[in-house]
């Protein structure tokens, strides 16, 4: 049975992840060959996912790493000074 557009839309995410059962995947593919709207929806979604996953979308602020490690260093120093000396084993 041929799929309607709105059913194809329900499968777009899994189609992109290639996680559809083979039979449905084939039906979707067949539909896409003949439907320029669904093809454009699929292409645009794929394109948008590639763009949003790009490291350039969110940039690190200048000095982020230095500030982070400086703060961690303070925390680590503080925790070391809190850390009790290892109890010494019973001395004979």
């Amino acid at each position: 049975m041929a799929l309607e557009c709105k059913h194809v839309w329900d499968y777009i995410s899994e189609f992109l992840d290639d996680s559809l059962p083979a039979e449905i995947k084939e039906q979707v593919q067949k539909h896409l060959e003949n439907c320029e709207i669904c093809s454009a929806i699929l292409d645009s979604t794929r394109n948008i996912l590639i763009l949003t996953a790009d490291d350039r979308v969110f940039e690190l602020p200048a000095g982020y790493s230095e500030r982070l490690h400086a703060r961690l260093a303070r925390e680590i120093r503080a925790s070391n000074s809190r850390r009790p000396e290892k109890p010494r084993q019973d001395q004979d």
């Binding site: 709105k6 645009s44 979604t45 948008i48 763009l51 949003t52 350039r56």
Partner: protein, 211 residues
């Protein structure tokens, strides 16, 4: 700016963690290095403000250090770290939203259909176009505008590239919920972004006009 955040495969994180817990605390700096960017990026997609995202990221790394003894090694360290960062971001949002209650914990409504934007053709937007600040801003805004339950899943799965299973475990939701929310998030982004991106398509030379 492109930040290398590939996870080095050769690192034995379990061993590093054991050494840190045994007293070699300074090793923690090296343990978290590969995740500095991803934790910040995740925070930023929630709190929407760079200074605050940095704060959330710092808090998350501090908390992870303090709680390292509780890390059981059942999940990957990165997944554990991500769930700590997520909790930190949620905590922050909850504090801000005590008046304007944006429900973060209520069961999601997953009924109703989400339809994509209908287009007749799609002209590929190349990744180089991301050099343009306005395109980056457009994408950031679209992600930020997703409601929290969709944004969480989308960010973990499609930006941080966790698997479906890891996403489910970081959020303590079922695998089928991850799939449903991911699908909706992607379609909502397509619906929001495709018409805007199309308006500024390379046909008019806008995205590619930079030199």
């Amino acid at each position: 700016m492109s930040v290398a955040h590939a996870r080095p495969m050769e690192r034995d994180e379990a061993q590093m963690i054991a050494a840190i817990l045994a007293g070699d605390s300074d090793l923690y700096h090296r343990l978290i290095q590969p995740y500095e960017f991803s934790v910040y990026r995740m925070a930023l997609s929630f709190v929407k403000n760079e200074a605050e995202a940095e704060d959330v990221a710092q808090e998350a790394f501090l908390r992870a250090f303090r709680d390292l003894g509780n890390f059981r090694g059942e999940s990957k360290f990165s997944t554990w770290l991500v769930s700590i960062a997520l909790n930190e971001a949620r905590r922050r949002l909850r504090r801000q939203n005590t008046v304007r209650m944006e429900s973060l914990d209520e069961p999601p409504e997953e009924g109703g259909k989400v339809s994509p934007a209908l287009l007749r053709d799609w002209r590929e937007i190349p990744s180089e176009a991301l050099e343009r600040r306005e395109l980056r801003a457009l994408l950031q805004k679209a992600i930020e505008e997703l409601s929290p339950i969709y944004r969480e899943v989308f960010v973990l799965r499609d930006i941080e590239e966790l698997s479906i299973e890891e996403t489910a475990s970081a959020l303590s939701i079922s695998i089928s919920s991850v799939k449903v929310r991911l699908h909706r998030a992607r379609i909502m982004l397509q619906k929001d972004l495709a018409p805007k991106l199309k308006l500024a398509s390379p046909k008019k030379g806008r995205w590619l006009s930079w030199h």
